[in-house]
């Protein structure tokens, strides 16, 4: 049995890394979620906000 099928039988418990709104949306549905306060390693790209601008067509 694929792990995916096990997932389908479990309660979804989410770890969110990145846009906080995704975590908030999950939380608003009473699903356990942890938001990771992620920081890039030293020298990393600090323009996290530009991530939003690079969302591809969906």
């Amino acid at each position: 049995m694929l792990k995916v099928n096990e997932l389908f039988k479990e309660e979804l418990k989410v770890i969110n890394m990145g846009l906080r709104s995704f975590a908030n949306d999950v939380k608003s549905q009473d699903v356990p979620v942890i938001h990771v306060d992620w920081r890039p390693v030293a020298g990393g790209n600090k323009k996290l906000s530009s991530l939003l601008s690079r969302l591809k067509s969906k």
């Binding site: 979804l12 770890i15 969906k58």
Partner: protein, 520 residues
């Protein structure tokens, strides 16, 4: 400054909750300092040192909780009390949200039974974190793009070897165990499972299934590149197998842009092996191949949903009606719009937030009219020279790179679309303006409201010129979505838009209006 306090006798609250309360109170501008401690002798000593001790607090024991605050305006203390009560009565998962661990590892240690990691970090880091998640036996939804195809291959191969989901990169829509993730609508539970390589395509099918009285068991996203040769449909294959094993899924729907033949064959073969009924929408791709394998081909996203719902009920899948309303009624409505147009108004202009919805429009339009310009054209000769300057019939995907540099995606923020509406309204040769309004989690909380004024403005510009602008809109959403669906529809109708119940019907209606004007 006044001192206010609250004592909770014989009260035991876990330390995380107490810390959160302290932080919440101290975050207020009108609070100088706050102390949240058990009434031990030492803590009372400390309170004394900072001038917060009084007789009542002095009487507390080590088993009592003290919340002491020094604040500017004591009339606001009730607000603090209300907040404290709220926090003390919260469930742990709420308190957990305020604890934001700094790394994936610490998050996993804090919630070891987590099973899904959703990643929307910048591409450069996203792949590494996705890999870590998979190595820790977690399923992954990778929203980020800017991940190389080599990285995608490595991630998906790792995932498949472990039987884990690796949804993405560039995967914006999924629903697992009835929980919408990222950009996704809330739909009824049911026996239709979807595996999609295209975000709004998946959303449209889900939404239509719901509208038609069906429901979804699981919705698995694969990311936009899954069916490319280099990836070979790894996630679509896994998704099909998972749905095959899922007792709650009776019908499988696949949606993607047309894949290369060998990948299409591979996917259809896997579908055949799973033995369940299926509908496949390769959006404008090879229907013959689909039928060859014994599956149902769909001519539109709506049609895919329509056929899936029929199969799910054990009925014969028929083609979706061209229009939900009688064609007679639609013709009358189209005629009504058309007769108000001025003689020089000829063109259709589309402003889309959903890339696949735009793509479906381009395909349906091209079938009838032969050609339409776009920033994501079907063939190179219809590529616009300047994406911000529409030419003849044009439909734009405003979620594409050029329009989203330095700006949020149009599903989140309507600014770019508002500007484009105003711009298009300058063109007196435009006859019909068509747009999608996508609801669901992740989307703007009031997309219709954010567009209504600009629609009215555009209509007014045309009226002032002695012309008429026909506006067609489609709300891709359900009544279960966080936005109020009925209100969204009403706002658009009040602005003068004609609403259609699916993306396909919207463009068909728009074509009826335009066709009456142009001989094709």
């Amino acid at each position: 400054m006044v001192s206010k306090w609250l004592i909770k006798e014989n009260s035991y609250y876990d330390s995380v909750t107490l810390m959160i309360i302290t932080k919440e109170i101290e975050a207020r501008d009108d609070v100088e300092n706050a102390v949240v401690v058990m009434g031990t002798d030492l803590n009372k000593d400390l309170l004394n040192n900072v001038g917060l001790l009084n007789d009542e607090i002095n009487k507390t024991t080590a088993n009592d909780l003290i919340i002491a605050v020094r604040m500017k305006d004591e009339s606001k203390f009730d607000e603090i009390l209300a907040k404290v009560d709220e926090l003390l009565n919260k469930k742990k998962s709420d308190a957990g949200e305020d604890y934001t661990p700094p790394t994936l590892d610490s998050a996993i240690k804090y919630m070891p039974d987590s099973n899904m990691v959703v990643i929307s970090l910048p591409g450069a880091y996203a792949a590494a974190e996705a890999k870590k998640a998979l190595e820790n036996d977690k399923h992954v939804m990778l929203f980020s793009d800017n991940v190389t195809i080599e990285q995608e291959k490595e991630l998906k191969e790792l995932a498949v070897s472990k039987g884990l989901l690796m949804m993405g990169p560039d995967c914006g829509t999924a629903m697992i165990n009835q929980v919408p993730l990222c950009f996704c609508n809330k739909v009824n539970k049911g026996n239709i499972g979807i595996v999609g390589a295209s975000g709004t395509g998946t959303q449209e099918i889900m939404v239509q299934v719901h509208r038609m009285g069906g429901g979804c068991s699981q919705v698995i996203g694969t990311g936009g590149r899954d069916l490319k040769k280099e990836i070979g449909g790894l996630m679509m294959t896994l998704g099909i197998q998972a749905l095959a094993n899922d007792d709650n899924t009776d019908v499988i729907v696949l949606v993607s842009k047309p894949p290369a033949i060998e990948i299409a064959e591979k996917v259809l073969k896997t579908l055949k092996e799973c033995g369940k009924k299926a509908v496949v929408d390769f959006i404008g791709g090879d229907d013959e191949l689909i039928r060859k394998y014994g599956f149902i081909a769909a001519s539109s996203l709506e049609d895919a949903a329509y056929k899936a719902v029929a199969l799910a009920k054990g009925e014969e899948p028929k083609d979706a009606p061209i229009f939900t309303e009688s064609e007679d009624k639609i013709d009358k409505l189209a005629a009504k719009e058309r007769e108000k147009l001025a003689s020089n108004q000829k063109y259709l202009r589309g402003l889309y937030s959903g890339g696949t919805l735009c793509d479906e429009t381009l395909k349906l339009f091209t079938k009838e009219f032969g050609g339409i310009y776009s920033n994501i054209p079907l063939t190179p000769e219809y590529k616009l020279e300047d994406n911000k300057k529409s030419y003849k019939h044009t439909a734009l995907d405003l979620g594409d790179d050029e329009f989203t540099v330095g700006r949020p995606h149009p599903m989140i923020d309507s600014y770019m679309r508002q500007q484009m509406i105003v711009k298009e309204a300058e063109d007196s040769e435009m006859a019909v303006l068509i747009m999608d309004v996508v609801l669901g989690y992740g989307s703007n909380e009031d997309p219709a409201g954010s567009l209504a004024d600009h629609i009215k403005l555009a209509k007014k510009k045309f009226a002032d010129r002695g012309q008429y602008l026909c506006v067609v809109a489609y709300v891709c959403g359900t009544k279960a979505d966080p936005q109020n669906y009925d209100e969204q529809v009403k706002k658009l109708e009040d602005a003068g838009a004609v609403l259609m119940p699916s993306n396909a019907q919207a463009i068909r209606f728009a074509m009826k209006v335009v066709r009456g004007v142009i001989k094709c």
